[in-house]
């Protein structure tokens, strides 16, 4: 059953338009700040596992720096190949500037 984890990451440390990587247990999670709203998803691109937190964020679109695959960070949907599998996304809540992610 999924449970919520209070991360050690402050929401204010991730600026609008920025990406960050957070490790929760053994899981590599990426967080995107889209105009003040936070979205969490698997950091590993579904194409060849490059870190998406090291990619580019354009609006709600994350672009993998290795091979150019694009995903919608809100839904995990593939927007451009070479990825074909969607990303897993996770609910995020901010309380007292701390990111809580339900993994």
């Amino acid at each position: 059953m999924p449970f919520e984890t209070a991360t050690s990451t402050k929401a204010s440390a991730i600026r609008p338009g920025a990406l960050a990587r957070i490790d929760i247990g053994g899981a590599r999670i990426a967080v995107a700040n889209v105009d003040g709203v936070f979205y969490a998803f698997d950091d590993a691109c579904t194409h060849e596992q490059c870190s998406l937190a090291e990619g580019d964020l354009e609006g709600a679109k994350v672009i993998c720096a290795c091979h150019g695959a694009e995903f919608d960070v809100r839904t995990g949907d593939v927007l451009a190949p070479p990825a074909t599998e969607p990303l897993r996304v996770y609910p995020v809540r901010v309380a007292d500037d701390i990111l809580h992610i339900e993994v």
Partner: protein
């Protein structure tokens, strides 16, 4: 009567065009004809993850095989086209079947250049273009076996890396001073050579194969400089040429591939070309270029389909590709043959840098080593064709997004 769209080449470019035609809701038939027996697939994994058994063939498919019939795309696989009758407007296959067309796309790609060296017909000498080729090489791969890779272009370099990563003993022979010398020049080429040496490839530059020795199977490679390398098998990556033989006598203009304009149109009405086979007029570089890479196949195939539908689309994407070798992600964007200035951001002797090839202060192309983000940002500058200040490109504190395009 509804028009017949025929695509010769069940390649990424061909499949991308067929899918685009159907997505656009076109009335009429769409027929995809291919020489290989498999449904269209992507070739980048063949020299990397697929070769190493880390990715399945299914993961390389453009779409699952059932997709085509479900979407009204007739596939005719395993049979090559033998000629095009451009007057009576049909494609004829090697088995004699004929497919009339109203609109035709040629996306036959390339075929590998054949070795003409003495002993080249011995068993155990492979090239790599198709999944069948990759399967033959895979069958040779086990740790400790000795491989000679002939040619260190992209395919040779990637194969050498994959073989080393799987624990084979690898010797690579390349006529130039470095791998990928013609495209990247000496500064970057030397760095790639070092990468391969660090990973244990025995590299031999400025030398070529004189002969392959062996009884039935290749047992050794002898070079012009007189060196001899015992081996269990050979992979040759000596380049490809456009697959245009079937166009002889068709009246379709060829010159380093099928000559097309910025709309992917050949010299004949209603006949188009896209992908590796197309020598396309690129409006950004103001010249014809033929690109043998994944993005071009996918995107140009789609652009050609729009033009076939009478929705004019100029194809002007900046060519871009990647080449993963060991833990390096190399990417290239743009087009260049020569340069008057090489501007490097980062340390070219390190594991992360961007090298930009400039002419008249404009960036024509760039290669990134483990710097995909920088490369993405430079593509905009390549497309803009505006002079840039090389000091700002080289200055790591400059955000490349802030440079005017």
């Amino acid at each position: 009567m509804a028009p017949a769209f025929v695509i010769v080449g069940a390649s990424l470019a061909g499949a991308s065009a067929a899918i685009t035609l159907r997505k656009a809701g076109v009335a009429g038939s769409v027929t995809l004809i291919g020489a290989e027996p498999e449904a269209p697939y992507e070739r980048p994994p063949l020299s990397k993850a697929y070769l190493r058994g880390q990715a399945s063939f299914d993961s390389a498919l453009v779409r699952v095989p059932a997709f085509y019939a479900e979407h009204g795309i007739a596939t005719v696989l395993g049979t090559a086209a033998s000629r095009i009758d451009t007057d009576r407007r049909f494609v004829e296959l090697v088995d004699g079947r004929r497919f009339p067309f109203d609109s035709l796309l040629l996306a036959t790609g390339t075929r590998v250049r054949q070795l003409t060296t003495s002993g080249a017909s011995l068993q155990g000498i492979h090239s790599l273009r198709t999944v069948a080729d990759a399967n033959r090489i895979r069958a040779e791969m086990s740790p400790g076996r000795r491989a000679v890779v002939v040619g260190m272009g992209f395919i040779g370099s990637e194969v050498a890396a994959s073989l080393r990563q799987d624990g084979l003993d690898v010797t690579a022979i390349e006529p130039s001073k470095t791998p990928l010398y013609r495209v990247f020049g000496e500064t970057v080429g030397r760095r790639i050579a070092e990468l391969h040496r660090v990973h244990g490839v025995r590299t031999v530059f400025e030398d070529t194969v004189e002969s392959f020795d062996g009884d039935q199977r290749v047992a050794a490679v002898v070079t012009k400089n007189g060196r001899r390398f015992g081996c269990d098998f050979v992979v040759a990556g000596i380049g490809v040429e456009p697959a245009v033989g079937f166009l002889d006598g068709s009246g379709i203009h060829t010159d380093n591939g099928i000559v097309v304009d910025e709309y992917c149109r050949t010299n004949l009405e209603g006949i188009y070309a896209a992908g590796d086979v197309a020598n396309h007029y690129h409006p950004v570089f103001k010249r014809r270029i033929r690109v043998e890479h994944w993005q071009n196949a996918m995107r140009q195939g789609a652009a050609a389909a729009h033009n076939m539908l009478g929705e004019p689309v100029i194809y002007d994407d900046i060519p871009w590709f990647w080449s993963d070798q060991y833990d390096w992600n190399l990417q290239y964007a743009g087009f260049h043959r020569s340069w008057d200035q090489l501007v490097v951001r980062g340390q070219p002797d390190g594991n992360s840098f961007l090298a930009c090839y400039l002419n008249d202060s404009r960036i024509d192309a760039a290669i990134a080593v483990n710097r995909g983000l920088d490369l993405r940002r430079v593509i905009r500058l390549i497309k803009a064709r505006q002079p840039v200040d090389p000091r700002r490109i080289a200055d790591e504190s400059t955000d490349l997004r802030q440079i005017a395009a």
